[in-house]
């Protein structure tokens, strides 16, 4: 029998440490307290702040970040600090989807997701089985993938609606597709590209972007897996203590591999959407999302030490990032000042979170 609750609740903490109710609230709802505080500030920023369109704008702007963060949360939850290969997984999935969209949207999305799954699987095997440091390995993987994309496309970018004979001599699958399909040049790319680029311009009820719906679905699925399944429990145990997990009969390697696969699959979905927005596949698409995702996750109260936090908190962290940017722009604050204020808020949230965890006896927070 696994003692998951014991690990989580800090039952081994010294008896002198009493749980403070504020600490419990700060630990569980810290990010939402901050969001509540920012709502009050936002009310002074603009009369339109509480409008539905403003909130839709905020959520829409962080949709891609939300997809990435949901996946990376699995990696952090299982105690592996982060997935630095996210930017290039997004980029490579984007170019693969542009290559495959010649045969329709479904092959394009499936191909991108499969690419992400393969990369995640490699990351997971190396980190889980060989116990290589996750940050170093995923960083190395990011460099390798970047080199591959640049080499493969000779430093150029790929457009969904344009291809010449030379286009089919570059890329990952295009030369193979060209040699196997003699009619590939006859495919109406403009029509296919309309469908692909339309991914980022599809709205439900005329206003809710498809990518926001996808982000919410991804978050919901990740929440379910992390909180309601045996795999989620195993992640928690492995995240709390890898060795304890192994000794408890959990196949920690598989658990870690699964976490990296989820991370890469989410990143590849995000890659498809960001490529659709940009209407171009290129190596630089997705840059910066690794650090942004980790920031959102930590803001959401997930511990870098692993085993603590929730997807609801991650959603809060992602929303908080969008909210900060929104309010500061509404106040007319410049980009540099925005960065400083965002950094200060980050420090405050992390400090409050860490302090409350220590008060609760989780001194490795």
């Amino acid at each position: 029998m696994l003692h998951i609750n014991a690990v989580d609740s800090g039952a081994n903490a010294p008896a002198s440490i009493k749980k403070s109710s504020f600490s419990t609230i700060a630990n569980r709802f810290g990010v939402f307290l901050m969001i509540g505080a920012l709502f009050i500030v936002g009310a002074f920023a603009s009369p339109q702040f509480f409008s539905a369109s403003n909130f839709l704008n905020i959520l829409s702007a962080v949709s891609i970040l939300g997809m990435v963060a949901a996946g990376v949360a699995f990696v952090i939850y299982c105690g592996k600090y982060g997935d630095m290969s996210v930017p290039m997984v997004m980029a490579i999935s984007g170019v693969i989807s542009v290559e495959l969209m010649r045969y329709g949207l479904v092959p394009a999305i499936c191909g991108a997701v499969a690419t992400g799954a393969v990369i995640g699987c490699v990351n997971g095997v190396v980190i889980g089985k060989l116990k290589v440091n996750a940050i170093i390995w995923t960083l190395a993987m990011n460099f390798i993938l970047e080199g591959l994309v640049r080499w493969s496309y000779k430093g150029e970018q790929i457009y969904p609606d344009m291809a010449t004979e030379s286009t089919y001599q570059t890329g990952f699958l295009l030369p193979l597709m060209h040699s196997l399909d003699s009619h590939i040049m006859e495919i109406d790319l403009v029509k296919r590209a309309e469908a692909f680029n339309g991914l980022a311009q599809t709205y439900f009820f005329g206003r809710i972007p498809l990518m926001l719906v996808v982000m919410v679905c991804v978050m919901a699925a990740c929440y379910f897996v992390m909180s309601k399944t045996a795999y989620g429990n195993q992640l928690k145990v492995v995240g709390s203590s890898y060795d304890v997990g192994n000794m408890s009969g959990i196949r920690a390697t598989s658990v870690v591999m699964g976490a990296f696969m989820v991370s890469s699959i989410c990143a590849s979905l995000a890659g498809v959407f960001i490529t659709s927005i940009n209407k171009v596949g290129a190596f630089y698409v997705g840059q910066g999302y690794d650090f942004q995702a980790v920031t959102a996750i930590i803001l959401g109260g997930m511990s870098l030490a692993g085993g603590r936090g929730s997807i609801i908190g991650v959603f809060g962290g992602v929303f908080l990032m969008g909210l900060i940017s929104n309010i500061l722009t509404l106040f007319g604050v410049g980009t540099f000042t925005q960065k400083m204020i965002s950094g200060a808020i980050f420090i405050v949230v992390v400090a409050v979170n860490a302090r409350s965890l220590r008060k609760l006896g989780r001194d490795d927070a």
Partner: protein, 418 residues
């Protein structure tokens, strides 16, 4: 244990193979000489013949190639070599930096860099022809615009039978400085440098000058001090282009609008040319083009989208014009925010001209963009180098032509170079 070792070994081999593959290709970073046969054989031929006669024949052949270069076309079917006119230089203020933000002369040192600079003693041209001369071109980043710049430079170098090597510092100033040291160590005949930072450029060009190697500044305007050590500057006239673009959109809205600006990376000359310059231009010529806000969200569509959505929320009907520094990611994000808000009345202008930007002009997502031939950006620098080796006197600055691309004339500029 054995299994684990085998796995590690296998992974190392795969990584090493991938890296060497990428390194060999250079990812577009380093290119082979333009034409090995032509570039290596010509100088060898001069060594074995009577020297003055060989010099003369090389010079004559070089001049003939220069003439034929005029007919070479770029990948868009337009002439590869295109030049614009240099604008008149106003009198330099005593202390431009002390002037207020909205004074057009505040940016004199960047806008007119090199135009009136007293040059250091010029490194004497061998005047023996450009054929076989080795150029090292140091760029800025791996952006597709730069791929097109180097394509243009390579086309020109091929046509002139010069040997061109291109290096990219990936947007890192330290790496660019290291590449300059490496280039000096290789002793090329000339170095072409696109400085990442205007302030750091004086030191960079001085170092090249002190090593006895002539240099050309291209693509990006260096500081006026740096121009002392530079044979010539070849670049787009970003300031002139954006004055023109600003004027075009101001006339379209009757000279009265609320304007927001999305800037380039702060510090570089495009930041000043595409934001400060337009703002100052409006303050002087169109006082009713009111400044509302400026932000620097970088070149990422979702961030640009959020900024524009926030502007629309904050300024509502006051916002009528948006000036962007980029017609790709910034423009896509901006167009999406405007579409979602149903604010088709907002006129958006941007620096161009990528394929994405020209598509947006056609679809109405962008009102106008500037014309900037990336291939010409690289090619005119190579031509200036060739002129130097042919013993001709160089102008201090060569600019790309200025033009505005709108829905009416966008077809004339297709296909896009990048």
């Amino acid at each position: 244990m054995k299994k684990k070792l085998f796995l590690i070994a296998a992974l190392c081999i795969v990584m090493a193979a991938t890296m060497s593959l990428a390194a060999c290709s250079g990812g577009g970073q380093e290119e082979a000489p333009a034409d090995d046969t032509a570039t290596t054989e010509e100088p060898a031929a001069t060594d074995t013949t009577d020297e003055p006669a060989a010099t003369e024949s090389n010079l004559d052949a070089s001049k003939a190639l220069m003439a034929s270069l005029e007919s070479v076309k770029g990948s868009d079917g337009q002439p590869l070599l295109i030049y614009g006119e240099a604008r008149e230089v106003p009198e330099k203020p005593a202390d431009p930096d002390a002037l207020p933000e909205d004074d057009p002369l505040k940016y004199w040192n960047i806008e007119y860099a090199g135009r009136q600079t007293e040059k250091a003693e010029e490194i004497k041209s061998p005047a023996d022809g450009c054929i076989g001369k080795k150029i090292i071109a140091i760029g800025q980043s791996e952006h597709p615009y730069w791929t097109a710049v180097f394509n243009g430079a390579k086309t020109a170098a091929d046509a002139l039978q010069m040997e061109l090597t291109t290096w990219n510092p990936n947007g890192d100033l330290n790496q660019q400085n290291q590449l300059i040291d490496k280039a000096i160590a290789e002793k090329p005949d000339i170095i072409m440098l696109s400085p990442l930072d205007a302030k750091a450029s004086a030191q960079q060009f001085k170092k090249i000058y002190d090593a006895g190697i002539p240099a050309i500044a291209y693509n990006m305007v260096p500081s006026d001090e740096a121009m002392r050590y530079v044979l010539a500057l070849t670049a787009p006239d970003d300031f002139g282009q954006f004055k023109k673009l600003g004027e075009y959109v101001a006339e379209a809205v009757g000279g009265k609008a609320g304007v927001c600006y999305m800037t380039h990376l702060p510090g570089g000359s495009p930041y000043f040319a595409r934001y400060s310059n337009v703002r100052a231009f409006y303050a002087e010529n169109y006082p009713d083009m009111k400044y509302l806000d400026h932000q620097s969200p970088g070149f990422e569509a979702p961030k640009a989208k959020q900024v524009v959505a926030d502007w629309i929320t904050k300024y509502g009907d006051q916002l009528n014009v948006i000036v962007l520094s980029d017609d790709s990611a910034q423009a896509e994000g901006c167009a999406q925010a405007i579409r979602e808000a149903g604010r088709d009345d907002i006129k958006v202008v941007a620096a161009g001209n990528s394929k994405v930007g020209m598509d947006l002009v056609k679809s109405g997502g962008l009102f106008a963009i500037t014309y900037q031939s990336a291939e010409a950006d690289g090619a005119i620098a190579v031509r200036a180098a060739a002129e130097y080796f042919n013993g001709e006197t160089l102008e201090p600055c060569y600019y790309l032509p200025q033009a505005i691309i709108t829905k009416d004339n966008v077809a004339d500029y297709e296909p896009a170079q990048w």
